[in-house]
Each structure stands twice: as C-alpha cells, then as structure tokens.
C-alpha cells in the first residue's frame, strides 16, 4: 500500500509471476505468519515442550523460524528496547505535535519560540475550521467519492481477477501486465485529459468524475490483490458446485466470493484509502461543488493566508478516523500489504 502512499502501495509486473510457484508459496507463508501472530502460537511452530519455556530464560530457543536472528543476551535486548523506544518517540512525535498544536489558541500556534504543549487547551481551532464554509460539505464529498470509487474498483476487479487466476489464458496474462504498467503512469500525465473528458460528458466537478479518476489508481492494485486471494482458493470448490448444477457465474457468486470475503475487505480498505488521501486528481478535477477535504486543507494555505491553527485541526479531524479504522483492522491490512508487495 503504498496505501500507502502509501497507502499507495502495490506491486510491479514481472513476467507471468502469478504462475511461479516459488513466489506464491513465499507470499502464502508470509501471510500465514501474519495471521497467526495475534494468538501467541505460530502455525509453523513445532510443538516442542521447550518452546513453552518462560521468558525469564535468557537463551531460550524460540519458536520463530527467524530464531537465529533474535537477540539472546539480556543486555543486548535491553539496548534494543531502548533503541526501539527512541525510534518510536521520533516517529510518533510529528503527529502528536500536530494534535497538540490543534488545541492551542490560534495565536499560540505561530508563537516564537514555539512550545510543544499548548499553554492553554482550547477547541477554538476546531470550531474555526469546521465552521468555515465548504469544510463540512468537503467531508461529505470525500466520503461519497471514496465509497463510489471503492465499489467501482471491487465490481470491476473481482470478476477480472477471477478470470485471470482461474482460467490462466494468455489474454489474462497480458491483461494483468497491462494493469500493472498502469501503476507507472504519473497521475499528472493523465489528469488533464481525464478532466477534459469528464467535462465533455457533463460530469465536470462531480463526485462521480473524481471517483472514476481515483479508480484508475485503485483498480490495478485491487486486481493484483484479488488475484492473490483467488489464487489461494482450491479449484475443487467451484468444480463441486458446478457438478451440483451451479453455473460458473453462480459458483463464483455463491461459493467463491464468500470464501474470499476477507480478501475483499482488505482490497476495499486499500481502495478506500487511496481515494480518501488522493490530492492531485482532486485538485485538477473539482472546483466548488465536489471539492474533497485534502483540497480544502491545501486551500487554507492560500485562500485565508496562513491559518495554521485551523489547518492542524482540520488535518487531525481528517486523519484520525482513518488511523483508528486501520489500527482496528491492522491484521488484515498487514496481510494485504505484504501480499501486495512481496508476492510481486
């Protein structure tokens, strides 16, 4: 992901990679590990009694297949934990500072010298930011655009990915390559022609037009992810269904889709994030009616001078739901990202 950008994450083409068992096995192993991390036992672990040894034994053998890399000595481990703590503080601080700043008074926001914590905690910035005209509608636009784009991606990607993985035709291989080359196209190159096409059919400045543009980003990634998930479904499943009198489409709909519903959820999250965070297409294709929140945030900088306080408040309101959502669903997301990148 590049989901990210990030979010905008994905995979690159390599000739008929989907057919190379070595990598497929590799990805499957990775995702299997990720799934089993939450309960403290890994699927690959041999059930040796020694592995249940308490953590107090410094040189105990570990169950991880990367056991060779795990630090054994207690002093080394302490040092590593300190390093990790330092890295986490450095890494987490910028966003915390954004949050702290959003609770300062508008004047303190740009005080010289700046303080880390607000001298006085206030919601003034939030009230200013959310009260500004265009801000609340932009949230509605963002949600609308992201939902339409996610649905469009799924509706197009699921059958395509299924066709590619299940029938392995030459056209399928060409298609998955072509879809992945799409990832290399710089948005700035197609943004303007796309905008004028939309204007030509009367869709200028609408959430529909923008969600179509966002789907050009998320569709290749969705096809790639869904292909990986379909790959893992045993073929006997729909064969049994067709023998029982299901049509092929019926088998896909009633038998295969329920099995890959977890994968569909992962794909949906990535498509949603790609649209929610996207800025360039939104900048080129929206004016007033369909402006999404990233454009509004950027506009704070020019339109109203430098209103840092409102800008930080709006950025916080815009980011926190997504961070919370993804932390809640983190297991799925980790699996998806690893699949999307490592499988390639």
């Amino acid at each position: 992901m590049s989901i990210a950008q990030t979010p905008d994450n994905g995979a690159l083409p390599t000739p008929d990679v989907a057919n190379r068992p070595r990598r497929a096995g590799f990805a499957a192993r990775v995702s299997a590990d990720d799934r089993s991390e939450i309960p403290l036992a890994t699927a690959t672990a041999p059930p040796l009694p020694t592995t249940e040894a308490p953590a107090s034994t410094p040189r105990r053998r570990r169950r991880y297949n990367a056991e060779g890399l795990e630090a054994g000595k207690r002093s080394t481990r302490t040092l590593l934990w300190i390093l990790l703590a330092a890295a986490m503080v450095l890494y987490g601080f910028p966003f915390l500072y954004l949050l702290f700043t959003s609770f300062k008074t508008p004047i303190d926001t740009i005080a010289v010298p700046p303080t880390i914590l607000p001298r006085e905690w206030t919601l003034e910035n939030y009230i200013n930011a959310l009260g500004r005209s265009g801000v609340l509608p932009s949230f509605i636009n963002s949600v609308q655009t992201a939902i339409i784009s996610t649905l469009l991606s799924l509706v197009l990607a699921i059958p395509a990915a299924y066709g590619i993985t299940r029938y392995k035709t030459p056209s399928g291989r060409v298609f998955i390559m072509a879809a992945l080359v799409t990832r290399m196209v710089p948005p700035v190159a197609i943004g303007i022609p796309l905008a004028s096409m939309m204007a030509g059919v009367g869709l200028a400045d609408t959430p529909i037009a923008l969600s179509i543009a966002h789907t050009t980003i998320s569709l290749p990634l969705s096809i790639w992810l869904m292909s990986s998930f379909f790959e893992a479904v045993p073929q006997d499943l729909e064969e049994a269904a067709t023998v029982d009198g299901c049509s092929r489409l019926g088998a896909l709909w009633r038998v295969v889709i329920p099995v890959v519903s977890g994968g569909i959820a992962v794909t949906a999250i990535f498509a949603f994030l790609a649209s929610w965070n996207e800025f360039l297409f939104a900048l080129l294709m929206t004016a007033i009616r369909s402006q999404t929140t990233p454009v509004v945030i950027a506009n704070f900088q020019t339109q109203f001078g430098l209103d840092w306080g409102s800008m930080t408040a709006l950025a916080a309101v815009f980011s926190i739901p997504v961070i919370l959502l993804t932390l809640l669903l983190q297991r799925k997301i980790v699996a998806g990202m690893t699949l999307g990148a490592v499988k390639g």
């Binding site: 990210a4 910028p94 948005p187 303007i192 796309l194």
Partner: protein, 295 residues
Amino acid sequence: MRIPDRRFALFLMTPAAVFLAVFVAYPLIRLITDSFYKISPNVGGTREFIGVANYVEAFGSEAFTNAGWRTLAYTTIVVTLEFTLGLGMALLFTMLGKRSQIWRTAFLYPLMIAPIVAGLLWKFLMIDNFGLIGTLLYQAGILQNPNQIGWLSNPDIVLFSVAIPDIWLTTSFMCLVLFAGLQNIPGDLIEAARLDGAKAPALLFRIILPLLRPVIAVALVVRGIDAARAFDTILIQTNGGPDSASETMSLLIYRTMIRFGDPGLASAMGTIYLLAMLGIAFFAVATIWRPGTDT
C-alpha cells in the same frame, strides 16, 4: 449451452479492461497527440499542429533538464534513506521477536496519513521562525540561531527537506516488507553461520541481504516509482521553490499546464517523463529483480 472457458474468462475481464482503456489508455493517447500541438489554454482555444517543436522546446529548456535531475536526486534520497531506516527497523523488530508485535503495528500509522497532511505537518515543523525543529536544536545549543538551517528556504538543502515527509510516510512500508522477508530466512542458516564464526556485519552482508534480494528488489522498485511521481508533499511544502530548487518533474508539468497555460508543452514533457519512467522501471526489473533467477 456452455461457452468455452477461454471466452468466459474474457467476458469476466472485459469490464475492467474497458474501464482501463477508456480512462487510462485513452487519456494517454490524448496526452501524446496533444504533445504535437500548440494549444491555447482558453476554452475552445485554437490547436495548431507544430510537429516535434514542443519536444525540442522541452529538451532545450533548462527548467526541464534540471527538473529531470532533481527528480532523480529526490528519488535516490527517498529510496536510500527509506531502505536504510526500514531495514534497520525490520532488523530491530526481528531481533526483539514476538513481543515487539504491538510496536510493529504502531509503527505503521504514518501509512494511513494523507501525503498532503504529512507535507503540511513537516512544513510546520521545519518552517522558519516558528518551526519546532530549528527551535529545539537552538535550545539544545546545536544551532546559534533557530533559523540557521533554513530547511525550506535554503535552495541547497530544500530538496532534502521536502523528501522528509515522504520518508516519514513510507519507511513503514519498507520495514513491513523487509520484516516479512526476514521471517522467511531459516533460523538454522543464521545459527550455522554464527557457529562458523560469522560476525554481525558478515551475517548482514553475506547472508541476510543476499537472501532478501527478491524482496528488496520489489520494495525498491515499487517505492522508486512512487517517489519519482511525488507531488502532494512537495507542492504543499514549497510549491517547487525557492528558485525552483525543489521543482520535480510532476510539479514542473503541473505548473506548465496550469500556471503557464501551455498544455502542448506540458503534454510533451509528460510524454517524455512517462517514457523515462517506463524505461527505468523495466531496466530495474530486468537487472535488480532478475525474475526467473534464483537469488
């Protein structure tokens, strides 16, 4: 009556293929045709065929060649630092084992943040006068003056400063991918190397990195392509300034199109940029990745 599998597969793929043809391939064709025209930016403006004149102008302009080198430098900075930091974190998490799991999750949070927000946030941290980083360094006695560095106002270092949000956003991705790769290195192999007396650097460069090679290749190529297209973070931080010192290819094309109102020239630049990206990506895939070989 049953249509053959081959046709059925085609039928399943058609909607997505049509979508990509209409909304990606067709705009690209428009881009390429536009690059041979002199186009007036006004609505209903004139179009005049001028052959390759836009290409001649692009290659002749210093802004274009400079933006090309800057994009390359930017991509190199971002990918190198991300890889180094990401590998460091992945090794750290691996060495700490399972108990670092919750921190691994927490480390992923920047991936969910919009690039535009990240750019803004770092601009706020690095900006002159009320930027926190300069102030903290000054209070720690490292700088004589909080504005000494001029992160975003000094043309010599601005390309590095605008890369920071990008690095902050996606080091997590590198870390995640490399961590997954590290989990697949058999523990016995490391153990055996240790018994043979391999020290940490040898372990890293002789065993771990060569084994991670396929994963590293994917991560570098994926991130390289993304970094070469960077737009949001730079636009919000500096808008390409000061003195175009942070104007990468995406920004130059955007400004040529919107600010300077020359869609024909911008299309020619876009076409060259696209071809260069495809060329470099395929070269990278063929050399670093070496699909089909076993290391």
